[in-house]
Subunit: 646 residues, 2 copies
């Protein structure tokens, strides 16, 4: 794998336009609905929702308003994520009004920065004397990381340095306070994020100190003596959230040095943000021990602790990973942000190792556990993504109080919607990639990409109705004999395919699961990839006891579910027959256009006077009607089920 | 039903001796092991267990020792329950040493009583000024109830009044403080118990004020304004346990007047102790509205919220009932005490209405959810009784932290083992009953009962290997033509039976599910009841989604389970075949003698590299080996499963 290191490159977002298909539609929804909706939220203009106060906090810190800080200790990060999403939008679609609004926010942020470069409204407004005294719980470095990501993105999109310079000043301050040198703090973030942001900054500045600071935070983590324990002693054993002892060191992956960690544990978002930065650093430095740790953790997460939807972090308690094969469907946490973080990490693993398995997981998480976080109209959200929902049970059972059976308007801790916005607005970077030999496609989506081959501008135009159809056509424009390879990812789910070039079938070479077409291209060349996309019934390893006797219905990358709206209640009484005769039908009027699946099944009924009886269930034939999992709870409230009895 | 009211009588424990079979064996285990073991616990003589301090608290309160109060606010009740169990033991089996020990304890208790009759070591030692300021949380009336039950039992057993007089003095004090009269407190217990104890006292004293106080506590409950809220305001909004608001009024069934309660809710033990007293009071007074409430609640508990093991209170959070059909198997709480309380209640419902359905539930709870609480040797206990256990999951999952996968030596809150002891030592009262026409048998167990017919002493001797065999023989001794009816309960599980009298088959009349034999009896008459006892596969109503696609294996009253010790791990991969060919074999060397059941089944395996694949499971034939549920975790630790895939 090593030969791929540093050879694969992320594409410049300005050169990609996602125009159609499901990803295009979701991209549009984010632009049209989520970003403006989130702006309202940040400015406390949503009805019936807890006010965010996030913009107001910055105004107070900037001296433009008066009052108290309100919201979570990491409230600033909501503004940062909004700005980052706006930056990605502006990279592709100019929007003067939005740009003006963003610039105004950046002006306020700059004013909120303190003399010495410090920037955090919670500490500036509420606890000015206590900076850097509670890294474990209080998210200063986390918020800095998010704002740094926004700054890098805004600079990329607009070439304007204002926010970038603000953040470089702040990073300079942080760099002067943390590190191995005598007198500096030996700390690291309680919520990882700044590490990956610093790697992105390094990508822009090329300044070794930026990468070194990321490396310091990564390498210092989990060393003894435990920094978090020492800072807790030092500040007089006070806590921001909860008694110290209830959060173990593994909650924020500080239980072991990162290279010794071989199982994902603790808070899932913290974990995958850290793994993302580890992969970035390993790729950049060629550090084999760090690469090995990344691959071991990847194997553990994706092959021992990941739901079929790409959901991770099964436990509502501490929003955390637990242990291998512990994946309850009804109490599953599967935070939307965790699946988003998994996509971030997967992209870095792909850049590091060039293997299609990473893009498979990007696709799996994206079409299922990520998109499930946003409603059809982009104004209702899921934070938690279980695979089985019975509303009464969620509403009344204490151990399911984290599971909302209905999409929510907003959250007190509103990390997920803006995270989804910044992922979807940067989706172009997941669709295409470049390597030394040419250009590749990881995700199939109606889109255009401006490639450059031997100095010549080449246009690739991808047309497809993926994921509802398995046919993708790529038109090459502007070429005049340039040689480059076009690599088309053969998804893990795909067992049968053909490739046509200018309507002639070709034996495209399969290199590491990429169909690789090497040729001299001329204007008007047209490649067509036709993937068979049958409905599959998927089973779990025996060790995954929750799914014993059950199967999930999957077509292409899309996991399907039963919803009460189509199948009535008591979904657990439905059984998929062996000869299910799956029928797939695209319905443009359903859920903004989805393929629905119908299958033969039976409904079991045990009726009678008594709770228990020796009467075996009666069965009657029925059709089971499946819709894509991501689209559930867009029509009416009710039960939902992914793993169906067989 | 009304005609039965007050006509059915509980038998005098002194006249029953349970000698053999499973109940006899468990009775012996309690005498031989649990009562001495518990005595050690009360005196802090167990190794590796949190000290109880319960006896020491009484010594301190009595001025015989110095130091602080330690333990739960209801620690006194452990001593009371021990004394009560000892009393039942002494009623049947004289034991001078034990009697001497009990008398010494009673002497200490009497010395701990304060001048005005007050008796509670927590308040006497720790908070002397705060009596009766926190009925909701602090168990003063609960502890009084338990000691009153012990006093009544000890008086019955020994005819000695010392503890009874102590408690009557205390009850006089309570009666002077609580009630409808002006100036008295309008309160009632935060944990119900004293109500049923007062009804037992009334049974001894015949004093209307004793019944009236019970009635007051029952009738005042749930009236507005809410007493608990008012006392909380009055004491300055302080809490003993947790913030006031986290405990709703329905936690202790104070949300509605008792006659308006139609669904069991809140803390399960509190609930069933209250229902027990309600049934006692309703029977005694003939109060039809109270009878109706009892029957409605009975129907809700047993037909909507009861596990097949007789376990109730499915939620670990607040040890509580939740809502209809909410019965998860793996997180089930099913406190041993709750099933014991259900047995208490069922007996009162039987005395009130004379229907065998109540005795069916006594049997169901006893042989399953109650006996599961005690190990084979009577020195390890379960507090929580789930129907599905995977040890790693219990040890590592936060939402299962209440589920112990291994029997425990003792508990910080040690309510269950002594409760089990007092139930098992009084089991004779559940075996036989008397009504106007004669004598009846509710439970089948090797035993002798001294009956009196028209002034003549009659001996009934019951011989049986129940529940392993369905044959019961009853020999009548000492009769010389006396006429009385013998009623043999036809269990709900029994579909086919025959009755022999002196080896001749008889058509015994089935009256309300009692096989009723009316005749003039003579010495040496012998009745034999032969009940077919096939293995049954039991199914749940469709609404009970946890059990969809699964069945429980039951034989007679005994619910069976699969254990890892017999079947290997991953019990959820085992499937019971339709043609299971159940094979029943009594094994005297297994678990002190049980019938084991073997059945044809298959083991499913999905093996491979990936967590999910489209390869259907492989199956191989295997024998499923079942043991009685109550006996699980007596050999080695591991998985356990009641509801098996079919």
């Amino acid at each position: 794998m090593a030969e791929n290191s540093k050879k694969i490159k992320i594409v410049d977002l300005k050169r990609v336009k996602v125009t159609g298909g499901l990803l295009g539609e979701k991209y549009d929804t984010v632009l049209r609905s989520v970003i403006p909706y989130q702006w309202k939220a940040l400015n406390d203009e949503l009805d019936d929702s807890e006010p965010s106060h996030a913009i107001e906090n910055f105004k107070i810190a900037a001296g433009l308003s008066t009052g108290e800080f309100h919201g979570m200790v990491f409230q600033d990060s909501d503004v940062a994520k909004w700005l980052e999403a706006v930056a990605y939008q502006l990279a592709v679609n100019s929007n003067k009004e939005l740009k003006k609004r963003a610039d105004e926010v950046i002006d306020i942020i700059a004013m909120a920065q303190q003399e010495d470069g410090y920037l955090n409204t919670y500490y500036s407004v509420k606890e000015p004397g206590n900076r850097w005294t509670n890294l474990r719980e209080c998210h200063e470095l986390y918020c800095a990381g998010h704002m740094l990501e926004a700054a890098v993105a805004y600079y990329h999109a607009t070439s304007e340095r204002k926010l970038l310079d603000v953040m470089i000043r702040f990073i300079d301050l942080i760099d002067s306070l943390f590190g191995p040198d005598e007198g500096k703090k030996k700390g690291y973030p309680g919520h990882q994020e700044i590490e990956l942001a610093l790697m992105r900054l390094y990508d822009v500045t090329g300044e070794p100190r930026h990468m070194n600071l990321a490396a310091y935070f990564i390498n210092e983590r989990g060393q003894k003596p435990n920094y978090f324990l020492e800072e807790w002693e030092k500040r007089g054993r006070t806590n921001h959230w909860s008694p110290f002892a209830t959060w173990q060191d593994d909650y924020n992956q500080a239980h072991l040095p990162v290279r010794e960690q071989d199982k994902a544990i603790g808070h899932a978002v913290r974990a995958v943000y850290m793994y993302t930065a580890m992969a970035d650093l390993a790729r950049e430095t060629g550090d084999e021990s760090l690469k090995k740790a990344c691959r071991t953790l990847w194997e553990n997460v994706t092959n021992r602790q990941m739901y079929i939807t790409g959901g991770i972090g099964s436990s509502g308690y501490q929003e955390a990973f637990t242990f291998d094969f512990d994946m309850p469907n009804d109490t599953a946490y599967n935070e939307t942000c965790a699946s988003i973080g998994l996509v971030f990490w997967a992209l870095r693993m792909f850049l590091m190792d060039g293997e299609s398995q990473y893009a498979d997981v990007i696709e799996q998480a994206l079409y299922n556990g990520v998109l499930s976080g946003m409603s059809e109209d982009g104004n209702r959200f899921f934070y938690v993504n279980p695979l089985e929902v019975k509303p009464e049970s969620c509403n009344r059972r204490h151990d399911k109080e984290h599971v909302m059976p209905v999409r929510q308007k907003w959250f007190k801790c509103a990390c997920c919607p803006p995270n989804l916005a910044r992922l979807m607005t940067s989706i172009g970077q997941y669709v295409y990639f470049q390597d030394e030999g040419g250009v590749g496609i990881n995700l199939y989506a109606g889109s255009r990409y401006q490639y450059e081959a031997q100095g010549n501008p080449i246009q690739l135009e991808q047309k497809t109705n993926y994921p509802w159809e398995g046919t993708v056509s790529i038109a090459v424009g502007g070429a005049s004999g340039q040689k480059f390879s076009l690599k088309l990812r053969k998804p893990g789910w795909c067992d049968s395919w053909k490739v046509m070039i200018n309507e002639q079938e070709e034996q495209a070479c399969l290199v590491k699961d990429y169909l690789t077409i090497d040729r001299s291209w001329i204007d008007g060349d047209r490649v067509e990839l036709v993937m068979d996309m049958p409905v599959k019934t998927m089973y779990s390893l025996t060790e995954l006891q929750e799914n014993a006797g059950k199967a999930a219905v999957v077509r292409g990358p899309v996991v399907y579910c039963l919803e009460e709206a189509d199948n009535g209640s008591n979904l657990s009484s439905l059984i998929l027959k062996d000869d299910a005769h799956f029928h797939v039908e695209y319905d443009g009027s359903l859920l903004k256009g989805v393929s629905r699946i119908t299958a033969k099944g039976v409904r079991e009924t045990v009726a009678g006077e008594s709770l228990y009886s020796d009467q075996a269930p009666r069965t009657e034939a029925t059709d089971l009607k499946f819709i894509p999992y991501y689209a559930w709870n867009n029509r009416q409230d009710g039960e939902m089920l992914v793993w169906v009895r067989v």
